[in-house]
């Protein structure tokens, strides 16, 4: 049974159809890539999966439950977590605090226990801190715990987003352009990290990515969107050779204008 099942989902913004009757199944513990030219509806799809948007029609099922229309925090509690294309960290909080906010669902402190601080709260907080430090080490941010998120380097911010998303302890992790703007070294690190997440933590991963080397290297299954429609899907070798995909990326090659870009 697929972990995530997107069934005939359509999303329109006042006439502009960003996604049109898209169906995607994601099997547990796979790494799935969503690719497509700009404006294909990739991020819209992520926003639908995580509750930022509601689908105009269609259904989203996760782990046997229908999740479309649920509020954001309920979807996070169900086990879906994400990163953002335009990094959206809590900029004025430190790295470790960002991760701790991600761990919110797994902590129990409330107003009363926060003030009285019984031993179990102290213990819980200590455990949470340790886990957060481990997560930061895992994504390669060792020693940067107390740096404000806004002061981190670009690549570090992307990693921190992953750490924060992992702190939610998701079963499904959505990565929106995880290597955007990274240099080759950082990209290789991120690729390695993505594989480790699946292999070591058994997290199912769906990622949006533009760098074909990353997509073809790390994804086991690829879905291609263009103009809000699914035009192809399959294993990387098949998708790579799909004529429709090549056309979507490079055009049909029929019209050649002089001096055209």
């Amino acid at each position: 049974m697929p972990l995530l099942s997107v069934r005939h989902v359509t999303r329109a913004f006042q006439g502009l159809v960003a996604l049109n009757d898209v169906s995607i199944d994601v099997e547990p513990e796979t790494i799935v890539g969503i690719i497509g030219p700009n404006g294909a509806g990739k991020t819209t799809l992520f926003n639908l999966l995580t509750g930022f948007y509601r689908p105009t029609s269609g259904e989203v099922w996760f782990d046997g439950r229908r999740i479309d229309g649920l509020p954001l925090d309920k979807i996070a509690a169900a086990g879906i977590s994400r990163t953002f294309q335009n990094i959206r960290l809590f900029a004025s909080m430190t790295a470790i605090e960002n991760v701790l906010v991600g761990a919110h669902l797994h902590l129990t402190t409330n107003v009363v226990t926060a003030v009285l601080r019984p031993p179990n709260v102290l213990r819980e907080e200590r455990t949470a801190l340790n886990t957060a430090v481990e997560l930061l080490n895992f994504v390669g941010l060792k020693g940067r715990e107390n740096e404000l998120a806004r002061n981190l380097a670009y690549g570090e911010q992307r990693r921190l987003e992953v750490a924060r998303a992992l702190a939610v302890r998701p079963r499904l992790l959505l990565l929106d352009e995880p290597t955007a703007g990274m240099n080759p070294g950082e990209t290789a690190g991120m690729t390695r990290l993505i594989r480790e997440l699946r292999d070591d933590l058994k997290i199912t991963i769906v990622l949006i990515e533009h760098q074909m080397r990353v997509v073809m290297g790390v994804c086991e299954y690829i879905t291609v969107l263009d103009h809000g429609e699914k035009i192809s899907e399959g294993v990387p070798e098949v998708v790579q050779r799909d004529q429709r995909v090549i056309e979507a990326y490079l055009g049909t090659g029929q019209i050649i204008t002089e001096g055209g870009a």
């Binding site: 995580t50 509750g51 930022f52 509020p71 954001l72 925090d73 979807i75 996070a76 509690a77 977590s81 994400r82 953002f84 959206r88 809590f90 900029a91 004025s92 909080m93 605090e97 701790l100 906010v101 991600g102 919110h104 669902l105 902590l107 129990t108 402190t109 409330n110 107003v111 926060a114 003030v115 601080r117 709260v121 907080e125 404000l148 806004r150 002061n151 924060r164 702190a167 939610v168």
Partner: protein
């Protein structure tokens, strides 16, 4: 504005301090003095305040407290400094007259309100201009539950200490009541609606003097709240046989309230709850995507902030022994918000300092005068205190827009903004 700032820069407090510090640090003795001076000076200043002639004492006292608290509060975690400050705050009113003790009471009361509002505005980032409503709820809860019939109360005679938790709950409920309709509002719109809420509560209290639908059953002639006449003859609280009657005695009550509120606010801030608020302030949608129930936590911020305001109201009513609707106008909300901003948003210590400046300063300025040789401006303070006060506020906002003692984060944010501005200028 930028030119003004540039021109003033060499004389800005931080530059002056830097220069003085670097000069002092050149010698070993100077370094030692510098490291310990604020603390060594404090007891001296406190003694000086005690020895000063009666009519001068308040000026001394406040100058000492403001200067000392600035140094102490900004040097963060020094327990010794905190103890000294606490001892000073406890000792000084002994040397003051009733009027001065009244001022000190107001300072402490407003500090407490500031701590409450700071939870809503500073921690959760929800601009609340109707904070006075919760203050009013607390004050009227105590007034009505304790005052006799001829004073406009319900003649139940409930004890101060029993009303305290009740008022907390009532004010928290009022906070949730305000919170629910404004959940979806942000920024300016939130400010407008909360401002309206504060006014609505005051006007309701004011108009509740006719025999209304509910009033009929409670009190046949005065409505519920006794309208513009107010509620009076509120009994004084007792504490194990001690009457808490004077501003001096009530000052200690509010001081303890202040400490408890600050303690609770700080502990909540650094907990999971505080982090959730902060995440909401930073990016509400992302906070929700990380599993934070934003609705619940926003309401929680309103409720906690309101309950502190409610306690402030109870203490206020007990000290005044009479409350009137006019005690709860917009000024209170504005003052509390202003002291939070001037002191440094998001920082309890900043709020306390802000209260000294905003609430204490205007009254201290009353007996401010200049008498140098032929210049005799005896009534300078009395006549122009609010002008001086306004100028001081403008100066603070120009020189330190992030407040006097901003939280670490606020500071970082403002530095970022300044860096961007500087980049644009070049």
């Amino acid at each position: 504005m930028n030119k003004l700032r540039e021109a003033l820069a060499p004389w800005s407090p931080s530059r002056l301090r830097e220069r003085a510090e670097s000069r002092l640090r050149r010698t070993a003795a100077g370094t030692a003095v510098l490291n310990n001076a604020p603390y060594a000076l404090l007891p001296l200043a406190a003694i000086a305040a005690g020895l000063a002639p009666e009519h001068l004492s308040i000026r001394w006292a406040f100058a000492t407290i403001i200067a000392a608290s600035y140094f102490i509060l900004r040097s963060s975690r020094d327990l010794f400094a905190m103890v000294v400050l606490g001892a000073m705050l406890a000792y000084l009113p002994q040397k003051m007259d009733r009027f001065e003790q009244g001022i000190l009471f107001d300072v402490a009361l407003y500090a407490m309100l500031g701590i409450g509002l700071n939870i809503v505005v500073g921690y959760a980032g929800l601009l609340d201009l109707g904070y006075v409503a919760f203050f009013a709820v607390g004050a009227y809860a105590f007034a009505l539950l304790s005052a006799p019939v001829y004073g406009g109360g319900f003649d139940v005679g409930t004890s101060f200490w029993i009303v305290l938790p009740m008022a907390m709950v009532l004010a928290a409920l009022a906070g949730v009541l305000l919170g629910i309709p404004v959940l979806r509002l942000r920024g300016d719109y939130l400010a407008i609606v909360t401002l309206g809420f504060g006014e609505i509560v005051r006007i309701m209290i004011n108009n509740e003097n006719q025999t209304g639908l509910i009033g009929k059953h409670v009190n046949s002639t005065h409505g519920i709240t006794n309208g513009p006449v107010g509620v009076f003859s509120i009994p004084k609280p007792h504490f194990f046989g001690i009457d808490l009657a004077t501003p001096h005695e009530m000052y200690y009550v509010v001081l303890v309230g202040c400490l408890l509120a600050a303690f609770a606010a700080e502990r909540i801030r650094i907990s999971r709850v505080g982090r959730a608020w902060e995440a909401i302030r930073e990016d509400e949608d992302v906070a929700a995507a990380m599993g934070v129930n934003t609705t619940r936590y926003k309401l929680l911020a309103f409720a906690i902030g309101a309950s502190i305001g409610g306690i402030g109201g109870v203490i206020f009513a007990a000290k005044q022994s009479a409350v009137f609707p006019s005690d709860f106008n917009l000024d209170v909300s504005i003052n509390v918000l202003a002291l939070v901003i001037i002191g440094g948003m998001g920082n309890v210590r900043g709020v306390v300092l802000g209260s000294f400046l905003l609430i204490g300063l205007p009254d201290v300025l009353r007996d401010f005068s200049i008498n140098i040789s032929f210049i005799n401006l005896d009534n300078l303070g009395a006549d122009y205190r609010l002008v001086i006060f306004g100028a001081a506020l403008v100066a603070v906002m120009v020189l330190r827009p992030e407040g006097l003692l901003p939280s670490r984060r606020r500071q970082a944010e403002f530095e970022q903004v300044r860096a961007i501005e500087a980049e644009r200028a070049t």
